[in-house]
């Protein structure tokens, strides 16, 4: 690990560097300055966390929806850069994590330092309940405004996961192979299609975006092929790989890479109309017991180092929305895909959650 120093000189240099950033929006720099926290350079990224204090705290607790190996991986990568800070975690599905955290807070128990949700609606709800500590990261300059919370500093888009179609090449004849979204309702897929359950934020985005593209009838037509719902992309791709299903309608690219690596006869299709994309959102929790370690982790996560880790860790494979993000495994960048994301109409999107739950649950026989 490189030696870190937080002298007055580096503080002044860092502050000047921030002040001189030409790309930084005025409001962002003002908010950064308003925090009254010195910007220091650690390793190769800027942070407003007090690194010495963070090391004294010595630990932080990360609440996340991610998989166990995914969380363990990112905490280990952070710990490699900051050996004196140990990351602990609580892992649960997005909604359970939300319920648990809300219950803890209502009982005045504040154990989460950093919290990450897999759905914008959850993060917005958490924000409305005052769940985040405002932390404007110097890394925010590398993110477009739509990838940061409003106001800035509550949470940021850790990355996005996007989905196309995937089919089993041994079970599907070449002439039947899908090319676009409208192909998913063909009778050839009867009882051989999988999607995710309504608990998936990604599935919600797909439902919303494709309904916007093709109209309300799109999903009711699809319901006729009797799709099966699963909780995770791992389960979806496993069924596809083994031939239990022929088509995966919400085929996350990250899941595809993982199963392809294992030699599965699966092909990914990126429909020309675009790929639904859902963000993962992380922020520092309000009244967290280890605020400096939490801030440092968020700054690190937003930096090239953190983003590079999550783009290449096979249990994450999240595309980075950072402006200068390196290419993903396979050589492509997020910008190379046409993504469908409800950034512009977030309020309408969030408000349609109940309608989605109702339609999706009914379609899956629940």
């Amino acid at each position: 690990m490189k030696k870190r120093t937080t002298t007055r000189r580096t503080f002044v240099k860092g502050s000047l560097a921030v002040a001189a950033m030409p790309l930084l929006a005025g409001s962002l720099s003002q908010q950064l300055a308003a925090q009254g926290r010195p910007v220091t350079k650690v390793l190769d990224f800027n942070t407003t966390a007090d690194v010495a204090k963070a090391e004294t705290e010595g630990e932080f607790t990360y609440y996340s929806h991610d998989s166990e190996p995914g969380i363990a991986g990112i905490l280990a990568a952070f710990n490699k850069d900051f050996p004196k800070i140990k990351g602990k975690y609580v892992r649960a599905q997005n909604s359970t994590l939300f319920s648990r955290t809300i219950a803890e807070r209502s009982a005045n128990k504040f154990t989460a330092d950093v919290i990450q949700f897999s759905e914008p609606a959850t993060a917005l709800d958490f924000q409305k309940r005052g769940g985040y500590t405002r932390h404007v990261s110097p890394q925010a300059e590398f993110y477009a405004a739509e990838h940061l919370s409003n106001p800035v500093g509550d949470y940021f888009w850790v990355g996005v996961t996007f989905a196309g179609l995937a089919y089993n090449t041994e079970k599907v004849k070449p002439e039947d192979a899908p090319t676009g979204w409208k192909d998913i309702s063909k009778p050839v897929w009867n009882n051989g299609v999988n999607v995710k359950m309504s608990n998936s934020g990604m599935q919600f985005v797909q439902w919303y975006e494709l309904r916007k593209l093709y109209g309300d009838k799109f999903w009711s037509d699809f319901a006729k092929v009797r799709p099966r719902g699963f909780d995770s992309r791992a389960q979806q791709f496993e069924r596809l790989a083994k031939g239990d299903d022929k088509l995966c309608v919400l085929a996350e690219y990250a899941g595809y890479l993982l199963v392809k690596e294992r030699g599965a006869p699966v092909e990914f299709v990126a429909p020309a109309d675009g790929l639904p994309a859902a963000p993962l959102l992380a922020g520092v929790a309000d009244k967290c017991p280890n605020p400096e370690a939490a801030r440092l982790f968020i700054d690190w996560h937003m930096s090239q180092r953190g983003q590079n880790h999550q783009q290449t860790d096979k249990f994450l494979y999240y595309g980075s929305v950072r402006k200068d993000a390196p290419a993903m495994p396979g050589g492509k960048r997020l910008a190379d895909y046409k993504l469908l994301s409800p950034i512009k109409d977030m309020d309408t999107f969030v408000a349609s959650r109940d309608a989605f739950n109702k339609e999706w649950n009914a379609m899956l026989g629940l």
Binding site: T61, S95, A107
Partner: protein
Amino acid sequence: MAAVGGVESQPALPDFRARVRLMEMVAMATIVATVAFLTLYPIYYLLQASFDVGLPDTRPPTAYGIANYAKLLDYPAIIWNTLLVTFAATAMALVFGFMAAWILTRTNVPFRRALDQLMTVPYYVTPLLGALAWSFLGAPESGFVNQVWRKLGGTEALIDMTSPFGIAWVMALFEGSVAYVMISAVMQSMDPALEEASQVMGASRRRTMWRITLPLVMPGVLGAAIFVFAEMLGSFAVPLVLGTPARFYVITTAIYHFISQYPPRIPLAAAMGVSLFAVMFAMLWLYRWLTSRTSYVTVTGKAFRPRLMDMGGLRWWLFGIVAFYVFLSAVLPVATLAYAASQKIAVAFPAAANFTLEHFRQALSINAVRVAMWNSLILGAVTATLGVAITGMLAWIILRSKIPGRGALEYLAMFPQAVPRLVFAFGMMWAWLVFPLPIYGTFWVLLIAYLTVFMPLGVRAISGVILQLDKSLDECGQVCGASFLYRLRTITAPLLRPGLLAAWLLIFVASVRELGASILLMGPDSKVMTPAIVEAWFSTSSELTAAMALIQTLVIALVILAFGLLTRRVAHHGAGAQ
């Protein structure tokens, strides 16, 4: 008798006896208060949630009503599915358990001791492991059996483990082992003189079994039925793994989906869970009614030596029946998982390019998993030890004391069993979050949760054996002036030892494989194993999950083996001392 001999040395001072009696009352009151607190405290929060019609995810609720219960009528198919699978699986499990118990405790079947050990193996296995294994074997498309069948020329699937029957079959296979442990503990304590008398009078073996053995072990069978029924009602892993692909949902899987979607529908899930109280208590009432109608005492002051029926050549057939059950419920699933875990993508036909040990390497390299395994073992041992003490006393109070309300105590103890663990966990979380002592997120809360949810298991396992003990044994000690605690130590406990050891083992294994409560209650420093395994199934692959579940099973097996050796040595030592 040792107890009577021991009583002679007891001081006969009246104030001493009064003090002892006072201590007994205090001990009983403590047990009753503990049980009431452990169950009613979280149930209060659960009931509160089920009537919550206020703002979502706001605690305490902002408004109350019965809308959540009214919504249950919107899900008749789910209720029907639940009852169908539960009754079918309970019936099958009881048949498996009773047959095996009778064969292994009452007949001279070969390799009896080995089979007895093997019969408990399915219970050591997490339900998820069993479900996964049978999914590998019997999924309509990719199931190994069906792949082989198609290779041989078959067109349709030969077996379908995702059908309601398949789900009930898998549940019964693994719960049959629980029924076996409970029923065999009762059968072991039964005086064979009654069966011998029947045969001397000319009754056939089959007639003896139906007319003598079965009625005598009825408390054990009914106790097992109640417990297994409740387990089936709250079964989650099997319907999740096998039912979801076929769009077949039961109450637990529906609850799971309701609490995991956003916004979480916890009030509806709580109403679903609470409504199961009615079903469960109807069953418990039936049990109490049946067991109160007649006496099931077979262990009296008269000494007996367990004798086995000579089955002649039939004994090899009986051996085959038990061995086949063990094969289907333990050997085949474990072998299937070992095979699947050593492949990149599990398929029926092996190929060198598909072989890998990466899943085992990965399972062992996850640091959190290693820590979680160790935590699970410690928690399991502590829970089992405390659990046996508490539930043993509780069962004794329910069945043998004269304290008012002891019947209600039994219903109280069954509460945690009546609600699916996933929902009950929310009640516990809310309860222990606001508890004045800072135990939330620590091992203590897991220990309390385990003691609560496994209370019915301990009570059921021990009650069946207590019912068989003749009250006159205890009364004899009482007449001779022995205090309650002294009688407990010198008369009751030694006679209950097989039942207590069985209960310890059951609670230990149940704790190590616990899932529903742990998911919600474990903190960053108190991780346990089974949630990590289930998590692997959700987020990585069945093959890695299989590797992790196999490692867990192996560790549990080693602990059980050590426990067996230890108890045998203690028994030998005790016999030698006498």
